[in-house]
């Protein structure tokens, strides 16, 4: 039986390579891609940002990121049709936990979690360690922020076509990282431009021309729950949050487990301005060490 996710991945790779072949400068860049692209694509952590209230709820609760559906089931959050749940319901992603490959992007909020790239592997195997068929894995990737499809990336397209577009770009985890590597080497003049937010210097073949960094940021969605233990690479939080009695106990435990903890002084008056820079520095250092 064919697997839609694998077929999508094969098609997207083919389209990207074909696109590069039509543009000699891109083909040349792809041929001369350095090891940075490989390292970036293989090791790029996954981020999930949240406000202080959600951070507290995650850390003092089940130590797990939960999908909107799970949060509602457990009575932690009410189903607010104004929030992301509307788009998630339309796209069938309401039982997904959302992460993004790379640093925290808009809105950066105050707190954030970085997960290792290896997190994906445990969602791609069964209970005895066998790799699951792509369509049965408990995680899926997309080469853009799916939350932006309906309102921002494809705003003037019929809903049925938006949903179809979404389904045609769901690709398997962790296999998508090979496509991620090719995207970096073909569409970006440097893989560092993915990290620092400069973005690609060529829009590429995917028919999304609107939008900001949501257009080219790879999204990885986990089914239902994403546990922090064993998956966390680093946590970012401001001084006042870190100082809270429950938080410092938690931070001590994270440090014992080898999780990086980045505590910073926030700029309250400007908001959302610090987390991006901190995470870029952290990921840069992390990727350098993977050499």
């Amino acid at each position: 039986m064919s697997d839609r996710h694998e077929e999508n991945l094969a098609r997207l790779r083919q389209e990207l390579l074909h696109y590069a072949n039509l543009k000699p400068s891109l083909a040349k860049r792809h041929m001369s891609a350095d090891e940075d692209c490989e390292r970036f694509a293989a090791g790029m952590p996954l981020c999930h940002s949240c406000g202080s209230s959600a951070f507290q709820q995650i850390c003092s609760g089940k130590d797990t990121l939960m999908s909107t559906k799970r949060l509602v089931e457990l009575g932690i959050r009410s189903l607010d049709p104004r929030g992301s749940s509307r788009v998630e319901e339309l796209l069938g992603t309401i039982d997904n936990v959302f992460t993004f490959a790379g640093p925290f992007r808009y809105p950066y909020t105050e707190c954030g979690f970085l997960f290792t790239s290896g997190t994906e592997h445990s969602f791609a195997i069964d209970d005895i360690g066998n790799t699951l068929p792509a369509g049965q894995r408990r995680a899926t990737a997309s080469p853009f922020d799916t939350g932006g499809i309906i309102d921002y990336l494809l705003p003037n397209v019929a809903l049925a076509n938006q949903i179809q577009f979404h389904r045609r770009h769901e690709i398997p985890v962790p296999d998508y990282r090979s496509y991620f590597r090719e995207t970096l080497s073909i569409l970006f003049s440097s893989p560092w431009h993915y990290l620092d937010g400069t973005g690609p210097d060529d829009p590429g073949p995917i028919e999304v021309k609107e939008g900001d960094d949501r257009r080219w940021t790879f999204e990885v969605r986990f089914k239902s729950e994403l546990p922090l233990p064993g998956n966390l690479l680093a946590v970012f939080l401001p001084t006042r949050t870190a100082r809270q009695s429950w938080a410092r106990e938690k931070i001590a435990a994270w440090k014992r487990d080898g999780v990086g903890v980045d505590i910073y002084v926030p700029n309250d008056e400007n908001g959302w301005g610090t987390l991006l820079g901190r995470s870029i520095l952290y990921i840069t250092d992390y990727l350098h060490k993977l050499r």
Partner: protein, 304 residues
């Protein structure tokens, strides 16, 4: 990047969803363009001085709803006209205030100082949880407050949580990368002990104040045996001029101000709060304890 005049904007929310524990707080406003109800300006702002705002994050009205639904932002019920030189802050009852930056900074500095003062008093009274909560309010008001971190460190040292002390050292280093946290903690403790000497006991209302019944029980003379020059053995007292058959913490509670302790020739104090703090926090080494009755017979340091 686009630029707007503040006079054309109004505040409809802020870029955080804060739990009660993190209030009061200055927050970043989310603006709505007055003449275009569907256009919002989101932080971070590249310039937010004078009468202009610059941002790359221009969004539709629905974006605020989405962020609020995701607990990434908070809406405010009644929009506030934007004005130059103002800051938005949220009080402990979750009411928004919009005042001159100078006024807000001054108010928050006052709050931080006041909460730290109260936290310090609470520490002296050994009301550690209360002290911790008060100091949290101080760092909410001033996220660079080292003293708020030091109060937490005193509390954690009392609890023997060395792992957590490391975390507090990390927080202090985020505020001041050059800080010698251990040294600062010792200085803070020394100041705390000094303050304790200067606080009239009548002004204190400790959590563990001796009750009338415990004093009455002691007065029956059953618990203290008067054996001068006999050593009292506790976990941290080397010697004592009186032998006691009760544990020292209980005696300190029931016989306030009748003890004096010395580490070498350094007087450590005569009431339970100070002595207890010194022993538990400062690891002062061998301690000699004296029971002085009546209290005014303590004239000078003993020659041991």
């Amino acid at each position: 990047m686009n630029t707007w005049n503040l006079k054309d904007l109004e505040i409809v929310g802020y870029a955080e969803s804060l739990p009660d524990d993190l209030l009061p707080a200055v927050v970043a406003p989310i603006y709505r363009v007055r003449e275009d109800d569907d256009t919002l300006l989101m932080p971070p702002f590249d310039a937010h001085q004078g009468d202009k705002v610059k941002t790359t994050h221009v969004r539709r009205r629905a974006e605020l709803d989405r962020l609020v639904g995701n607990e990434q932002a908070t809406g405010i019920d009644k929009s506030i006209p934007a004005a130059p030189g103002q800051l938005l802050w949220i009080d402990e009852s979750r009411r928004p205030h919009y005042q001159s930056a100078e006024q807000v900074r001054s108010h928050f500095q006052y709050l931080a100082t006041a909460y730290l003062g109260l936290a310090r008093e609470a520490l002296i009274l050994q009301r550690f949880d209360h002290a911790d909560k008060l100091a949290q309010k101080a760092i909410n008001a001033d996220n660079r407050s080292l003293d708020a971190v030091l109060v937490a460190a005193v509390v954690e040292r009392m609890r023997g949580n060395n792992d957590v002390l490391d975390v507090l050292s990390d927080i202090a280093k985020a505020i001041d990368p050059q800080i010698d946290f251990q040294q600062q903690l010792e200085i803070y403790l020394e100041g705390l002990l000094q303050d304790n000497r200067n606080v009239p006991i009548s002004n204190l209302t400790p959590d563990h104040a001796p009750s009338q019944s415990s004093i009455a029980s002691l007065a029956e003379g059953l618990d203290i045996a008067d054996f001068p020059e006999t050593l009292c053995v506790t976990s941290f007292v080397d010697r004592c001029n009186v032998a006691f058959q009760r544990e020292l913490p209980a005696l300190l509670e029931t016989e306030p101000r009748k003890f004096v302790a010395y580490a070498g020739d350094k007087r450590l104090g005569i009431d339970e709060n100070e002595f207890y703090l010194r022993e538990r926090l400062a690891h002062a080494g061998p301690i000699a304890l004296f029971y002085v009755e009546p209290q005014d017979q303590e004239l000078a340091a003993p020659l041991w």
